[in-house]
Symmetry: C2
Subunit: 454 residues, 2 copies
Amino acid sequence: MDLIARLRAGLPGEALLTDPDVTGSYARDMANFCDAGTPAVVVLPRTVEQVQHVMRTATALRVPVVPQGARTGVSGAANATDGCIVLSLVKMDRILEINPVDRIAVVEPGVVNAVLSRAVNEHGLSYPPDPSSWETCTIGGNIGTAAGGLCCVKYGVTAEYVLGLEVVLADGRLIKTGRRTAKGVAGYDLTRLFVGSEGSLGVVVRATLALKPEPPQQLALVAEFGSVAAAGDAVCRIMAEGHAPSLLELMDRTSVRAVNAMAQMGLPETTEVLLLAAFDTPDPAADLAAVGALCEAAGATQVVPAENAAESELLLQARRLTFTALERIKPAMLIDDVCVPRSQLAAMLEGAAAVAEEYDLTIGVCAHAGDGNTHPLVCFDPADPDEERRARESFDAIMALGLRLGGTITGEHGVGVLKKDWLARELGPDTVELHRGIKQVFDPLGLLNPGKLF
Amino acid sequence: MDLIARLRAGLPGEALLTDPDVTGSYARDMANFCDAGTPAVVVLPRTVEQVQHVMRTATALRVPVVPQGARTGVSGAANATDGCIVLSLVKMDRILEINPVDRIAVVEPGVVNAVLSRAVNEHGLSYPPDPSSWETCTIGGNIGTAAGGLCCVKYGVTAEYVLGLEVVLADGRLIKTGRRTAKGVAGYDLTRLFVGSEGSLGVVVRATLALKPEPPQQLALVAEFGSVAAAGDAVCRIMAEGHAPSLLELMDRTSVRAVNAMAQMGLPETTEVLLLAAFDTPDPAADLAAVGALCEAAGATQVVPAENAAESELLLQARRLTFTALERIKPAMLIDDVCVPRSQLAAMLEGAAAVAEEYDLTIGVCAHAGDGNTHPLVCFDPADPDEERRARESFDAIMALGLRLGGTITGEHGVGVLKKDWLARELGPDTVELHRGIKQVFDPLGLLNPGKLF
């Protein structure tokens, strides 16, 4: 029996897509310049049993499986391989439970981040992780990539909110990991092993997530700096003084101009760096005043507090638009995601500017400054072979710089196919060998998302 | 060449203990009723290279190795096996770095928790995890057991503070995991895999820890309840209302009387349950007033706020003394560590009381109530075989109850040898098989802390 027939035996007709025009549209996520193959079939299961059927079939026929969420990732981790089953979890999108006493939600993997966020808000709770794609990305994808966001400087990343999982293994067995309790240390932390494993160890079909009480509405300020050194100094002072901003974001002049050009935001263009800080504390105005003073001490030329929550939200909006805005500068863009110790932020930003100059390229930088997580965005025209070569080399130079500064090649976007070579450089051969060993334990036939990570 | 001679070839003389009277004192941690073997030798290395030498020697000669911290654990995870090398990390006790901008500390595993806490306090920072043994336990032990504490309800457990590790593998190779950045998703989360693995996957020789800004001094209240149902209801109300107490602890009447008897604390003995709540917020008095009102609404017969920080500290002290105080009631004690969803706290406490009655035993209960993490403490006389049998059966009955209520057999104390059978029950055979597979990847000869966990 062939693959499609066997899949059909355990799935409703509408769960199976075989038209190549349709399946082709599931071939890749939002990463540029990452290889993607042609899927044999796309499956859209609605139940755990259907996922198990897919994995049993894949195991029986030795067919690779690529799990997918909303394909908003930017590392190619959800890209198809030739002849694979694309296993899209987007139809498993139920919120099964929201519990304000236990402060947990139980969800299926296809729930959209913003849908969950709004649903828990109605119970006075918040689900903090907020990747830029939060309006469309799924919780399953967030778990697969261990996604970050703007809130992380205060609230941490996706990994810190995943208490327990139900996972279908490569051979179709269903396991539970973790717990729905606040604490628990029963055995190895398999939950955390699955988070960020990019679908290479199993298929997450249910997640128990920790929630927080909903904080007060945040209030923001924007500070202008004449140099990245001064802005980096401000970030260091803010964090060293013990402040807990709910966001601390940075945009360089290139990013600011791109956002203004696209969305007429009226951000100040005459300065080198904008720093956005926000607080959702009981007295955000007082905290902002203290942080504003630290910015001025570090050399800020202007500090402008938002008048109200709406104005604060607008500033956030501007920051969230940076990727899209910079993508309009040139036909293509490579997105870096280097995270350095925040004490090295200024060095990282200066280094990225030097790389832009050396390679004669436009590289806009936005950053989750409070986390030291920078996104240098290399803009280029792939129709110009020399410019493309320089773009790729600069992309690599930026990661090399990040490692030299004690950082990591990926703060929150993951490895996928985009950074496989670099993962090996960061981890070294012994640790890569351990990764292969773990992969072998969970997926001895190597069927789950092959060719990603390492 | 024999074991001792080969070890001596790479270690200074004072790092090697071979006198059986001395080595015997390293045979066990603080767990009762757990098997312990006789070590062949105790090694006290001071450098990473010395640890590597020990592991290379152990691998060459196929000798098991039991890593140890301060042996304050209560599950037998640090107990020796016959003929093993006890690898005590207590002499590797340097704090290598405290960085207020990056909010990290880099430490060796033998640093005592309280020493680190006080050292970072001097920089305006805090290292929150605070197991009851914090004055003597080591960071390495905390990492091995994924230790909890009283702060967890607000600040989380040890695992959440471990950013990166250096680990000597079973064959002596040294690897680095994780990062010193705020975020990072480069590959599988090996850091988290080591945390709580009870020394079964590698020997942690260095840790990069996240720090928090030092919070204001906390202020506490004590509320008295006539029933565990009312106290459980109060906990649910406090958490459902979105409060973030810095501790929310519970003592039953048995615990209160034991503490009073030992330390003349003057705690009220006429009531069934005491609930301690504290806040380290900007306005703790206001938060305590709100929580006090919730306690009264849930049926508290008395709510007494502490007058000041010193009085608050005294209440905390009382709670910390519970284990020691209850140990004096009978010659022996079995310490349970069942964590349930906090909405099930009252059911868990009522169930534990029913078990005490059924088995005709004194079982005092204290709990990290805000986390649903209960410590039923089974007091008994091992000289009375029937009482010992009843004690062991009640210990098991309590874990069975915890699992029925959606909880875990261990919230923070770990598995060791004490709860091996129960780990298998909680995880199930498929997950245990995955554990064995992972163990095999890291330690193919099975030399690291054999016989623990599973």
